[in-house]
């Protein structure tokens, strides 16, 4: 059984970004294998990304800033 099936092209791209340091603390929008928007506020990043995505929905992800805790309990 093979685990880790690709969920989407964008998810695969996200997993393979080698140097994520420039994106720390930022939201990124990914479409195909491209980062099409980047910023501090999800609403602004969404607005910018949607104007560039021609009706498709990018994958949105925030890269944790330095010092952000890795543990979370709701």
């Amino acid at each position: 059984m093979i685990y880790g099936e690709m969920q989407s092209v964008e998810a695969e791209f996200l997993a393979k970004i080698e140097n994520i340091e420039p994106y720390r603390g930022k939201w990124i929008a990914i479409l195909d294998s491209n980062i099409i928007a980047i910023g501090d506020d999800i609403k602004e990043v969404y607005k910018e990304a949607i104007t560039k995505s021609k009706g498709r929905t990018p994958l949105f992800n925030r890269i944790p800033a330095k010092g952000e805790t890795e543990h979370f309990i709701l």
Binding site: E5, S8, R24, T57, R62, L74
Partner: protein
Amino acid sequence: MGFRDRKSEKMHFRYKAERFRNDEGKEITVKKPRVEVCIRKDSGHPDPEKNPEYRAYFTVDSGADLTFLPLQIAEIIGLELNENKKSSVMTISGKSFAYEAEVYMEIMYRAKRVRIGFVPVLVTEGDASQEYIERLLVVGRVGFFDKFIVIFNEAEQNFELRKFQLQDKVKRF
């Protein structure tokens, strides 16, 4: 793609790796059971103007009764939130209030969409800080865990969603 596609009847996911960097500069990778989810207000085709869609990783959380959304994400997809439809919510940080709403949900698997359907959600009463938004994207039990048999394998850091078959229900009784 819906459940009629046999390939979607059993789906396997590896835990998503997230790369943190602590105050000392050391990189720490943490893997969590997260699934790529698309949500929108209506079941119709996504439309930036009429039916905007949001796509991101949500944590699959068997301890959460309901799916949870930060207010900003609800606003992005244009959810109508009613002041008269609020619930009290108990979290580890205490009691708070959340709007009750519903979203149309799909998950991504093998680069295709798998329909989940309408799922009840709770939406935070106010904006979440940017660093918490992703952490608050949680898929809870109602509307999701009742459609699948969900098997977490923490030792191997993967999970499986298996379509809930009628015979599985029969075996319980």
